[in-house]
Symmetry: C2
Subunit: 97 residues, 2 copies
């Protein structure tokens, strides 16, 4: 299922990747890396810390403030780069630029 | 000290506030609301959940991935609004738009 989504979006991915440093797509259901431009160590770090811990903290903060609201997107600006985080149901897409 | 910073930036605050729904400035050192456009209940909720829990989770994720890096800014896009979060040393500024 994911492979066909990725193949269908290959052009978009390439366009996004022109300005990006890298990307990670994590499968939240089974806690694995679906696809990544990084090596395994960096990918697993981003999956656990960004897709896991940070998205969960952001989603619960948003819902605690308003139980009818929900998290759509997260942009984490750091000194060295930016993490663009899109939690999309089964998958979380992270682009680093 | 903060009062003079806020007075000095009154024009900027007004300009930012034209498109915003509200803002909260929290004093991280003593865990209080420095200034807010919301009532106390909402302000304390935003201070605890956004300035406290979420900023800490984001900062530690960024540092765990690269100990020489640091969090500069956080944008939390939700279905109903956006939280623009600027952790500035002693104070954290949150604008909701």
């Amino acid at each position: 299922m994911l492979e066909s989504v990725i193949r269908r979006n290959a052009d978009n991915t390439e366009r996004i990747m022109k300005n990006a440093m890298g990307y990670v797509v994590s499968n939240n259901a089974i806690g694995t890396i679906a696809i990544s431009s990084y090596d395994n160590t960096v990918s697993v770090g981003i999956m656990k810390l960004i897709c896991g811990v940070l998205v969960a903290a952001a989603r619960s903060a948003v819902r605690d403030l308003d139980s009818t609201n929900d998290l759509c997107f997260l942009r984490v600006v750091t000194r060295k780069s930016e993490y663009l985080v899109a939690p999309e149901g089964e998958f979380t897409i992270v682009v680093i630029q």
